[in-house]
Symmetry: C2
Subunit: 292 residues, 2 copies
C-alpha cells in the first residue's frame, strides 16, 4: 500500500512537472500595486495586472472609473461557460455621486488599443512560429503576445484569464464593461478587441462566477442569480495590510527560455511517444508567488 501511495504521489508530482517544467529555476518580479486591479467578488478576491504598455488609455480609464466607484456592486451579467464572463454598469445611468466623482456626465468612448507598433528592441521571448492564429507568439512581461511576420506589430492574446474591454460594432466604442476569458482561448478576437490586463490571482474565483442558462443567449435574465463585484479598487489605493504581495515569473532570461524548451521537448519518461515539438502560448502557465 505504501508503495502504491508513493507511486501515485510521485505520478502526480511527475505530471505536475510536465505542466510546470523547470519552474523551480524561475526568477520572479514583484508586481507594482499601481498596476493591480483588485476585484472583490461574491466568490472571493481576484487580482488583475493592468497592462499600460499595450492599452494605456484603456487602463487610465479603468483606473478613473474604479476610483469613481463605477464597478462597485455591479454584476457579471453575461457569463458563457467556456468563453467569457462580462461585467460592468451596462446601461445603468450614472448616479449623481458618480457624476461628481467622475467629473463628467457620461463615460467617454475609448479608442481601440488592440495592436501596438513593435520594436525588436523590446524584451520578449519567442514561443512559437506559425502558430495557428499568428505568424509568431511570444511572452512580453508575463503576457502572451502575437507578432506579425516582420515583428513590427504586436497584440495581446485572448488566453484564459485575459481581460478585455467590451465594445459595439464600431472599433472605438468601448466605455466601461469588461470581460475575462474563462475558456479555450477565443483567438479570433486577437487584435480586434482591446486586452488590457490578465488575472494573476484568484482565477479559481473567476471560474466560480455563476453562468447564464447554457440554453440561452448568455445574457442573464433579471431573475437569474448573478455574481457581483462587491468592490473594485486599485492596489495602491488599498492600505498596505490589505495588499497582496504578488510576484510573477520573469518571462525573459535563461530560466524561462529553458522552461519553454523543456515544454516543447517533453523528454520525461511519461511521454512514451513524443508530442509535436510545438507550444500553444496560451497553455504555458506563468507562475505566481504570494509573499508576506
Amino acid at each position: 500500500m505504501t508503495g502504491k501511495k508513493q507511486t501515485l504521489v510521485w505520478l502526480a508530482a511527475s505530471i505536475w512537472l510536465l505542466f510546470a517544467s523547470a519552474s523551480g529555476a524561475a526568477t520572479y518580479r514583484d508586481l507594482d500595486q499601481q498596476q493591480l486591479w483588485y476585484l472583490e467578488l461574491d466568490t472571493g478576491r481576484v487580482v488583475i495586472e493592468l497592462n499600460d504598455t499595450f492599452a494605456p488609455k484603456t487602463v487610465a480609464q479603468i483606473k478613473q472609473l474604479t476610483r469613481a466607484g463605477i464597478y462597485d456592486g455591479v454584476s457579471f451579467y453575461r457569463v458563457i461557460d467556456g468563453f467569457v464572463a462580462q461585467a460592468g454598469p451596462g446601461d445603468t445611468p450614472l448616479s449623481d455621486s458618480a457624476i461628481k466623482r467622475l467629473g463628467q456626465t457620461s463615460i467617454p468612448t475609448l479608442p481601440m488599443e488592440s495592436v501596438l507598433p513593435w520594436s525588436n528592441a523590446r524584451a520578449f521571448t519567442p514561443v512559437q512560429r506559425q502558430d495557428l492564429f499568428a505568424p509568431q507568439t511570444a511572452f512580453s512581461a508575463g503576457f502572451a503576445v502575437g507578432l506579425n511576420a516582420t515583428s513590427s506589430e504586436a497584440w495581446l492574446l485572448h488566453c484564459p484569464g485575459a481581460v478585455g474591454i467590451a465594445r459595439g460594432n464600431e472599433p472605438d466604442s468601448a466605455t466601461s464593461d469588461f470581460y475575462v476569458v474563462i475558456g479555450q482561448a477565443p483567438r479570433y478576437l486577437d487584435g480586434i478587441m482591446t486586452v488590457f490586463g490578465r488575472v494573476v490571482w484568484g482565477m479559481d474565483k473567476v471560474q466560480a462566477i455563476l453562468r447564464a442558462d447554457p440554453q440561452g443567449s448568455g445574457v442573464m435574465a433579471p431573475d437569474e442569480p448573478q455574481t457581483r463585484i462587491q468592490r473594485a479598487v486599485l492596489g495602491s489605493d488599498l492600505p498596505p495590510e490589505q495588499q497582496l504581495m504578488l510576484a510573477v515569473e520573469r518571462t525573459v532570461g535563461e530560466a524561462f527560455e529553458q522552461k519553454l524548451a523543456a515544454r516543447k521537448l517533453r523528454d520525461h519518461p511519461f511521454f512514451f511517444k513524443r508530442p509535436p515539438a510545438v507550444l500553444d502560448a496560451c497553455q504555458v502557465p506563468i507562475a505566481v508567488q504570494l509573499g508576506t
Copy 2:
C-alpha cells in the same frame, strides 16, 4: 437610456452570435442514458458522455467501477487551475464490500486506448488542416478529434471538458482515477493518454471544484478542503425521473458544416478586421439541449 439599453442587449446578442453562429439551424441527437456518467459533486450535477467507440475497454471498466461504488465519496485530490481536476480512489485499498461487488481484490490495469485505427467510411466533419498539433482536426459524434496525415488514425483531443484516465509512466498502467480538462487544451497529451468521455452538462460545476494551493504541486494536502463526488451512477441505472433528457448538436450534416464555415469566415460587422480563416477545434462549442 432605452436606446443605450437596446444597444447593449443587441451587442451582447451579437457577440453571442459570433460565438454560436448559425446554431439556430442545428439539429440534435438524443443521448443514450447507457453512455451517460452522472457525477453528483458537492458543487452540483455533472454529466459525462462516455465514448466507447474510442475507448471501449476504459469505458467498460469505468462502468464496472461505478456500479461497484468505487467513486462514491472520493475527492478531487489534484486540481490545478487552467489544467485538470483529477479524482478517484487513488491509493485507498478496496473495502470488503467493494471487493465483493467488483468480484476481484484489486482494480485491473487498462491498455492504452489513445489512438484508433480510422476508416474514411466513418462519419466525421473536418475542421482544420495543419492544426498546430495535428495534421487534421475534425468532429466525430460530438467529440473533437485529431487525424494523422493519411486519416488512417484518429484520437480524441484534450479540449476543455475532455475526460481522460490517469496513468503512470507505463502506457498501460491506468486503473481508476480520471481527470477533467478545466483550462486551455493541453494538446501535448493527445494520443498518449486515453480520453474516454466529455462533459455534456454541468461544466460550470466542474469549474467550481476547489483548486489546490497554486503555489504547491497541485496535489492537495490532507488538510486542504476538497470537492467530493457524493455519488457516481450511470444514467441507465437511475430511475427515469432522475435522468436528464439531454440532446447534443449533430456534428455531421449541412447545418454543422455551415456553422464551422461561418466561424471561419467571421463576416459579421463586429469584425472590422477579419481574423485568420482558421478554427481551433477546441474552441467550437457544441450545443446541448435539456428536454423534459
